[in-house]
């Protein structure tokens, strides 16, 4: 799913010099985009679910996602007291879905948080210094680009998985890191493009001749103007990361049980597709709706933040 990034990168983002009113303007346009609002609502709902599920378990409204009931393996919807059925060890599917949102959101968001500094740093360096440095860094990103991302993640995960052992946090971070490492290129290229176009503006030349440090100036102009496209890039990166985690789990390399993740649930649901089809459908729907929500949100943000699109 690197498809969306390059299109964004190629789109010629016009660096608006007039920043005041952009955010209010953007908010107005965003508000009018119904799909984007729907997406935002779904995401807020997911966040709530992620935070509230432990509480619900504590209040005994929700079953524990890790409690096994082997007498009721692979129950269907509504059977044996399980609202959405149970999995291959008799654990409540609904509870696991809800707890799975924690991991999915974490994958989505944290991966972008890792990508942000890397992409920013490299893009800045390449754009600011230009010349040899730019060339070198762009060739470096070429190499990275040539690497099939699944391959790289698989190798990294299989290398580091045993060093991490049973430490859940470390396991998560390793997977996030691996996914981030294959997806930072788009952001770096975007930032570089932004820096290059800022550099060409006259006021930079003017500032340079008057002696103020161009780097500070570039940063001062870069961040507010580029924030829009950067946000959009990051937003589209989230469903990518979630999808990649699901694919990894499908092949068996993702985050390990008993931590529930949607990808894992799809993996075991896939094996039980004849016995209990709902066990694959529900987590797939969960992934699907989350990806949809972030896509709508991303579309909405892009439409809202792009100064050229007039409605």
């Amino acid at each position: 799913m690197a498809l969306a990034d390059t299109a964004l990168e190629r789109t010629d983002w016009d660096v608006a010099e007039q920043q005041i009113g952009l955010w209010q303007d953007a908010w107005q346009r965003f508000r009018r985009n119904r799909l984007a609002i729907v997406g935002a609502v779904i995401i807020v709902f997911l966040v709530l679910v992620a935070f509230l599920s432990p509480l619900l378990v504590g209040l005994h409204i929700l079953q524990s996602p890790v409690k096994q009931n082997v007498e009721f393996i692979e129950s269907g919807v509504g059977q044996n007291g399980f609202v959405l059925g149970s999995d291959e060890l008799g654990r409540d599917t609904l509870a696991r879905l809800m707890f799975g949102s924690q991991v999915s959101l974490a994958v989505g968001v944290l991966v972008q948080l890792i990508i942000l500094p890397i992409g920013l740093a490299i893009g800045l360096a390449a754009g600011y210094w230009g010349g040899r440095v730019d060339n070198l860094l762009m060739r470096f990103t070429d190499i990275w680009w040539a690497f099939p991302d699944l391959l790289f993640v698989l190798v990294v995960v299989s290398v580091f998985q045993q060093r991490v052992g049973a430490n859940v946090i470390a396991d998560l971070l390793m997977i996030f890191g691996a996914i981030a490492l294959v997806n930072w290129v788009a952001l770096a290229r975007l930032v570089r493009g932004q820096v290059l176009s800022i550099k060409e503006k006259e006021f930079i030349e003017a500032a340079r001749s008057s002696g103020s440090a161009p780097l500070k100036l570039i940063l001062k102009h870069l961040l507010p103007n580029s924030l829009g496209p950067i946000i959009v890039t990051l937003t589209f990166g989230i469903p990518q990361a979630i999808f990649l985690e699901a694919v990894l789990s499908f092949i068996g390399f993702g985050i390990q049980p008993p931590t529930p993740t949607w990808g894992q649930m799809v993996n075991s649901g896939y094996e039980n597709i004849y016995a209990n089809p709902s066990s694959v459908v529900f987590p797939a729907l969960a992934i699907g709706f989350t990806l949809l929500a972030f896509s709508f949100l991303g579309d909405g943000l892009r439409d809202a933040l792009d100064p050229r699109m007039k409605r």
Binding site: V70, E71, I73, A166, S268, Y274
Partner: protein, 566 residues
């Protein structure tokens, strides 16, 4: 065979022998299908790494190897003894050190050449060649054949050393129809070694032709070239390979030169489908005739009126256990190990988690094999007793919670171990966790002794003799096969005595005593014996009997099978 992971989807669909009826309830007067319809399509699960019988170590490879090649002997249907195969008879010298096999005079290779004793000499010499690095050489051959004990000391790159090692082995063919083996020490189980598919005869002229001429004994690459094309894989078994499609399937057709005559089946197509769903869907759409039912679909098969009639539960000589690292406190204390062993509800495991496709076991030698004895109930499920043992040992929950259950990264293992950890947590009041990492690294860790508890660890019989089993837990097998390395007083001596003993009754007693030590000391925690849940179409007639040699790894007796009219 050591089984680190339960390769469920990969387990072979066995061609069982039903004494009573074929398939469902068809009468025995059902007509056979015409020869052009005598095609059997089965799922082998995984592509063989090699078609060279000497290099085959997995069941899915041996499935081909046992049909294309025939070793000297083969187990009897009831596994009580061996019966002739490529050798019509054999003699043992009075000191038990020399075995003389008489090769059948009418035995031929698939290209018409007669089978000679020299072919066996070459096959076994090649197998024992250090440069080939064949997996099954140790311990079957290098610790039985005279001269083989130097195997690990020979430098595989030194042609002179390799040559002299090979010439020094106790293998000879005094005439065309005799094959003689000298042993290092008397071994009552050697007749079983002679049934292994890796002991197949090999044609020297074919190997050399494929390699483009004779080659130094240190060139392993040339020694393997003959096994890469179906035209050069010439065997002496009832079938030969007619087609190999890489990663897809291999097709076997009858060997018209086989001494036992042609079977009815004209084609056997073994597919390499690893994905359970794919195999199951192909079976349901009539593209496969016989598969092993994926564990996830067992309830589907049972619940379907048509499919359930086509299903069969077949026993395997395979047992699984949990391995405790006895070099790490507090697992060095037998009471602690026994507590863990007694805290697993095996019935729940086999009936619920495994859907009744396995059977619980608390002893070592499996049902169906000489030596099975479940009278010692020391490891039975008893949470109260287990907790009492922990108290007696004086270990705290904190100490135990630090222990991790090392788990291979495969669906079956993950499910099983999550259940087991949950059992320990619930029944012993603990909070332990699984440590799931990729399979190769798990193997490396257990060989280094870098683990707390590991499972499910298992063994599948290479042949139905206790010797194949008991040797696992000797102290010399520590880090080799016996990863927990328990110190068991008296065990080594008992096993050594039984291995070299020639009186069968005495052997049985010695091995039984050894098993008791294993159970009572909780060297490992025995959990279940693996059965196989297969389905095959009602028009497939496969001769089947309980605990037949069909259930030994890789055994597929298609020779007596046929397709009914349908």
């Amino acid at each position: 065979m050591h089984l680190g992971s339960r390769v469920r989807a990969v387990a072979l669909a066995t061609a069982g022998v039903l004494i009573v009826a074929c398939g469902t309830s068809t009468s025995t007067s059902e007509a056979k299908a015409s020869p052009d319809k005598q095609i059997l399509r089965v799922n082998d699960g995984t592509e063989p790494n090699s078609y060279d019988p000497g290099q085959e170590t997995y069941t899915y490879e041996a499935a081909v190897g046992r049909n294309v090649f025939e070793p000297l002997l083969t187990p009897k249907s009831d596994l009580s003894d061996v019966q002739p195969a490529a050798a019509s008879s054999y003699d043992v010298s009075s000191d038990g050190l020399t075995y003389t096999f008489h090769i059948r005079t009418n035995a031929k290779w698939s290209d018409g050449q007669p089978l000679t004793g020299q072919d066996f000499v070459y096959g076994w010499q090649r197998l024992l060649n250090p440069a080939l690095a064949a997996g099954y050489v140790d311990p079957f051959f290098d610790q039985s054949v005279a001269g083989g004990q130097n195997y690990s000391n020979v430098d595989p790159t030194d042609t002179a050393a390799v040559d002299s090692f090979i010439q020094g082995l106790g293998l000879s063919a005094p005439d065309d129809h005799t094959f003689k083996v000298q042993l290092q020490h008397p071994a009552a189980y050697f007749k079983w070694v002679a049934t292994l598919w890796v002991g197949a005869p090999i044609r020297k002229d074919i190997v050399e032709k494929a390699a483009g001429g004779s080659f130094p004994s240190t060139d392993a690459t040339k020694a393997e070239m003959w096994a890469q094309s179906k035209d050069t894989v010439i065997g002496n078994g009832p079938y030969k390979i007619s087609e190999i499609v890489s990663k897809d399937h291999v097709t076997l057709v009858p060997n018209s030169n086989y001494w036992g005559g042609s079977g009815t089946l004209q084609q056997i197509i073994l597919y390499f489908i690893a994905d359970g769903n794919t195999a199951f869907s192909k079976y349901q759409t009539g593209a496969l005739d016989q598969i092993n039912v994926p564990i996830a679909d067992v309830t589907v098969v049972r619940g379907d009126s048509t499919l359930s009639k086509q299903a069969h539960l077949l026993p395997e000589l395979t047992v699984f256990w949990m391995t405790y690292n006895t070099k790490r406190a507090p697992l060095d204390n037998p009471d602690v190990r026994m507590a863990f062993s007694k805290a697993i509800d095996r019935d729940k495991l086999v009936n619920d988690v495994e859907h009744g496709t396995d059977k619980a076991i608390e002893s070592f030698f499996p049902r169906g094999m000489n030596g099975y004895d479940d009278s010692d109930k020391a490891q039975s499920f008893d949470p109260t007793a287990a907790k009492a043992l922990l108290q007696k040992a004086g270990v705290t929950a904190d100490q135990l919670n630090k222990l991790k259950l090392l788990t291979r990264n495969s669906t079956g293992n993950k499910t099983l171990n999550q259940f087991i950890v949950d059992q320990w947590n619930t029944n012993l009041g603990l909070n332990m966790q699984t440590d799931i990492i990729d399979s190769k690294t798990v193997t490396r860790n257990i060989r280094k002794g870098d683990f707390d508890i590991y499972g499910p660890d298992g063994w599948g019989a290479d042949y139905p003799d206790q010797q194949d089993w008991a040797d696992i837990f000797t102290s010399t097998s520590c880090h080799g096969l016996n990863f927990g390395c328990p110190t068991l007083a008296g065990y080594d001596d008992l096993v050594q005595k039984a291995d070299t003993e020639t009186d069968q009754a005495q052997r049985n007693k010695d091995y039984a005593a050894a098993q008791k030590i294993l159970i009572d000391q909780a060297a490992v925690g025995f959990i279940f014996q693996q059965y196989e849940y297969d389905i095959w179409k009602p028009y497939v007639h496969l001769v089947q009997s309980p605990f037949d040699d069909e259930y030994l790894p890789g055994d597929q007796n298609y020779h007596s099978g046929y397709i009914l009219q349908h």
